[in-house]
């Protein structure tokens, strides 16, 4: 027994780790029997609709609600001043983002409107339709002000200042300087330079934002049913700004119809809805309609980056860049709108081994919809810049783009590694991943096909994109800056007298499979079939306090907590079993929901029998035995600020030079997210993420005119990826577990979105380069491509 090598997690009897298990809880969704927040109807529930500003920037001269008040079904009409007595304003700053400034933001505009779509008046009525009818009758007299639209001129002296008390429109600025950048450029064999534009886009969750505020005046309790990623964070925010004791606020998140970072921010209309419920002492529901979503859900990206890269002896030696981004009129609370730019500065050059880095990032205020963190925050911009530079540098140096990457990625044997930007990597596998994808896609073969087809007038391109992803964030992400956002998450696991196991956790489910993963880990750690496990999420009153789901943290953080809680419960069970069976606990094991002899595997008692004895016939237990059939464990990473993952993506596409249309032919991903718990769920996260990234690369764009009006705020005009145009995506893995946790899992939720835009962008330029064309912006619409080819 002594020289047996320890069992790994995957070797444990009845381990589900590393196995594809169909998500146990989704049949009800497939039968239309989920409970999305809009499916809820509460007694006396009223509905709110908002009058939104038609101007990007204007003074509110007067508001006349007289006619609207008489409209059928109207219960109450509220504007900014009155609302501010029920809901205090908030300011989206964090202390670790030094110098970040923003102005107080109100639930309903007070005095001035600062973006087209900002809520101005709330109308509560018996039905949504009646509320909308009355909204149409509210008269607001605006005096339009000159809007600040173009981020390039937001800081010019003649540009109006959005919030006079801030002095200027600069919300945040950061400079990074490492090594000797000037010397590296002076000594370079080749230098390439780019000015790149990353269009504004948005999340377009199929289920729009929705919530029901339900204030019970008798109990002094506020319950908010909400489609959200972070119930505990929202509980704190609702309490803080409505003045209700935080312990009297409960947030319940039922099924969530997609989130991707959209449903984790403080939105004025959400805050107003909750305040109205308090004001009216009855449930109030708000569902954003799609037109509202486009002008009120956070937007993302919108970066202009000037960047330069140096190559010497066939290897990258320096990167210099200047990032400018416009975030709308307010930094969003509580995560702030400086994080994306900050991430871009951290992540540019991330996959590569070089020491000389200079970066400037500026975040400016403007009169457009608010911007904040959306899936893969900063990553698509950072790798869009990096990978465009690498391809340009390869052209400048006369090298194959794969060869320049091969020479320049951080070698697999050089960890731990600190990047020029200062970020730290525990262990990554760029070399192995790159070789794997080149083989998977048959890079050499594709190059040959490409050359042959070009003779026939067919323009195909290959795009490569190496990337890293921030996952499993520690408190260094938000908490350190003063935000009440938990980096820690816990899992409580309970054994019932049925032998059933219930896990409750603070991380939440939006379809990525959190509940399945927790169930797999708990079942494996305890030793029960997965059918025995139930998982509870999304309720601040019944789950351990925690951060929820963001920054690809569910599996890595709550997964580890589930593993530890499961092991603790297992130890508790074996202790009771040992006392009951008069055996040493370490000679016993739990397999297939029964206590067995560890050596022979023969069954001694089922967990259901053990549970029944403990709960119903405790008198049979030996003296001094005090069974605890429940265990809770928490986990938060501490050694590294983030558990970085890495991957490579590759795209093969064809451009029609006459129409500018892009046809995606193939797409490959090699991803290293550490221990894979459920291969199918991991791959589906990657595929969904890649397609979102393809959307950013080819279609999605919030188009604003010079007056600050969004011109395409409908699903007919804002294009999203649809089935017919999307390719099948082939995925392979490298597994480099994180050593910080026993489980070793890192996140994977954002990797696809992080790398895909760069791969598509590079493939387009690889295709049209033969015709002398080059794009420098995404989305790469047919018009943009035809322009790049000089055809329009």
């Amino acid at each position: 027994m002594t020289d047996k090598s320890p069992l790994t997690l995957e070797d444990l009897p009845n381990s589900y780790i590393g196995r594809t298990i169909p998500r146990p809880n989704i049949r009800r969704l497939a039968e239309g029997r989920g409970t999305f927040t809009d499916d809820l109807t509460l007694p006396r529930m009223a509905h709110v609709a908002f009058l939104r500003s038609p101007y990007a920037h204007a003074e509110i001269k007067s508001i006349d609600t007289a006619q609207a008040e008489t409209s059928p079904g109207v219960i109450r009409i509220v504007a900014g001043e009155e609302m501010s007595r029920y809901c205090t304003p908030w300011v989206g700053v964090l202390t670790h983002l030094k110098g970040l400034k923003s102005a107080p933001q109100f639930a309903l505009a007070v005095g001035r409107v600062r973006w087209q779509g900002e809520p101005v008046v709330a109308v509560v009525a018996q039905s949504r339709a009646q509320a909308e009818d009355a909204v149409a009758l509210v008269e607001v007299d605006y005096e339009p002000l000159p809007p600040v639209v173009d981020m390039e001129t937001a800081l010019a002296p003649e540009t109006p200042v959005l919030h006079p008390e801030l002095g200027d429109n600069l919300a945040f600025e950061r400079v990074v300087e490492a090594g000797d950048v000037d010397a590296a450029f002076a000594e370079a064999d080749a230098v390439a330079e780019e000015v790149l534009h990353f269009g504004r886009h948005t999340g377009v969750t199929l289920e729009p934002r929705v919530l029901v505020g339900d204030y019970n005046a008798g109990a002094g309790k506020l319950t908010v049913y909400m489609s959200t990623q972070s119930p505990h964070m929202m509980k704190n925010i609702f309490a803080t700004h409505t003045g209700i004791d935080e312990d009297d606020v409960r947030v319940i998140s039922k099924d969530v119809g997609g989130s991707f970072g959209i449903k984790i921010h403080t939105y004025p209309d959400d805050m107003a809805t909750v305040a109205l419920s308090v004001m009216l002492k009855r449930p109030v529901k708000f569902v954003a309609d799609r037109l509202e979503s486009f002008v009120s859900d956070i937007h993302a990206r919108d970066h202009r980056v000037k960047a330069k890269i140096a190559v010497k002896d066939g290897k990258i030696t320096a990167i210099e860049m200047d990032d400018l981004t416009g975030i709308g009129p307010y930094s969003v609370y509580p995560r702030t709108s400086a994080v994306e730019c900050n991430q871009v500065l951290n992540l540019v050059g991330g996959p590569y081994d070089f020491a000389n880095y200079r970066a400037v990032g500026r975040v400016v205020l403007q009169n457009k919809n608010i911007m904040c963190q959306y899936r893969a925050v900063g990553h698509p911009v950072a790798f869009g810049v990096t990978e465009a530079l690498v391809d340009s540098a390869a052209r400048a140096a006369g090298m194959d783009p794969a060869a320049l990457r091969r020479n320049s990625v951080i070698p697999d044997d050089s960890y731990p590694y600190t990047a020029a930007s200062g970020i730290k990597f525990e262990a990554l596998s760029h070399q192995e991943s790159l070789e794997k994808i080149l083989k998977l896609m048959d890079y050499e073969g594709l190059r040959a096909d490409q050359a042959k087809l070009r003779q026939e007038g067919v323009y195909r391109g290959i795009g490569l994109a190496a990337m890293i992803e921030v996952t499993n964030p520690s408190p260094m992400f938000y908490g350190v800056g003063g935000a009440h956002i938990s980096a820690r998450d816990g899992v409580t696991i309970r054994l019932d007298p049925t032998g059933g196991v219930t896990c409750a956790t603070g991380v939440t489910e939006q379809g990525q499979g959190t509940e399945a993963v927790i169930a797999q880990i708990a079942a494996s750690a305890i030793g029960v079939p997965i059918e025995k496990v139930r998982v509870v999420t999304g309720d601040t009153e019944t789950t351990p306090y925690g951060g929820g789901t963001w920054a690809s943290r569910g599996a890595g953080i709550a997964g580890e907590a589930a593993l530890q809680a499961g092991r603790a419960l297992r130890a508790n069970i074996l202790e009771v079993a040992g006392a009951m069976l008069q055996a040493e606990p370490d000679r016993l094991d739990i397999r297939n929901a029964a206590v067995v002899d560890a050596d022979t595997g023969s069954e001694r008692m089922t967990l259901a029998d053990l549970g029944k004895t403990v709960y119903f016939r405790g008198n049979e237990l030996p003296d001094g035995v005090s069974p605890e059939l429940v265990a809770t464990r928490h986990y938060s990473p501490r050694q590294f600020p983030f558990a970085f993952t890495n991957g490579v993506q590759a795209c093969w596409l064809e451009v029609d030079p006459d129409t500018g249309f892009v046809k995606l032919l193939d797409f490959w991903v090699v991803e290293d997210c550490g221990t894979v718990i459920n291969p199918q769920l991991v791959d589906e996260q990657i595929r969904g993420g890649v397609v979102q990234g393809i959307g950013a690369a080819l279609y999605e764009h919030c188009i604003y005119d010079e007056d600050g009006n969004m011109r395409n705020a409908t699903m007919a005009d804002y294009l999203v990826p649809m089935a017919a145009e999307m390719p099948d995506i082939t995925i392979e893995h490298v597994e480099t577990p994180t050593g910080e946790s026993v489980l070793g899992a890192k996140g994977v939720g954002e990797a696809g979105t992080a790398g895909a835009p760069a791969a598509v962008f590079n493939a387009i330029n690889d295709a049209i380069g033969a015709l002398g064309g080059k794009i420098t912006a995404i989305p790469a619409t047919p018009e943009l491509i035809l322009k790049a080819l000089g055809k329009v």
């Binding site: 049949r27 497939a30 039968e31 239309g32 199929l206 119809g257 379809g511 499979g513 699903m715």
Partner: protein
């Protein structure tokens, strides 16, 4: 405001009479008045397909169809087709293949897929993708959905139905 109108509709095999505003969409009627919340609303503009329902044998956009247009008609939603087991093979395949993440698009996808398989028992992948081109899914990237429909089709053929 328009006066309410009385309509009689057979929903999932159950005949019911209700008074509705003429402007009310069929999907709102099903969700709010009948309590069938399985059909979803994603755009109210006929683009996303989340509201897809079966009206007199054909799939329609529940957001572009008025409740009064369904007067005298037969309506099937995902709940009814689940209970009748008509789409059981598709549901099984969707679950097996993880062809739903958040599940918000799923009822519309299933109704669309069922319509496809009635027209074409063995569609190719491009045909499946083309047929789904009016159904938006933000989560899956579509590949799993295409796989699931393909596998349900072969399952159903195998079962000789």
């Amino acid at each position: 405001m328009d006066p309410v109108r009385e309509i009689t509709v057979t929903v999932n095999g159950e005949r019911l009479t209700a008074r509705v505003e003429p402007r009310k969409s069929l999907v709102d009627f099903l969700r709010e008045d009948v309590g069938l919340t399985g059909s979803h609303v994603g755009c109210e503009q006929g683009i996303c397909g989340a509201c897809t329902i079966r009206l007199d044998g054909t799939i329609v956009r529940g957001c572009l169809t008025l409740a009064v247009q369904a007067d005298g008609a037969e309506v099937w939603t995902v709940e009814g087709l689940s209970d009748s087991a008509e789409i059981a093979a598709l549901q099984e395949a969707f679950q097996e293949r993880n062809a739903l993440q958040c599940g918000y698009c799923t009822p519309g996808m299933l109704l669309t897929a069922a319509a496809l398989l009635r027209d074409n028992a063995a569609p190719t992948r491009p045909q499946i993708r083309e047929y789904l081109s009016g159904n938006y899914c933000r989560c899956t990237g579509y590949q799993a959905i295409v796989d699931a429909i393909e596998s349900a089709a072969s399952q159903m053929k195998g079962a000789g139905s």
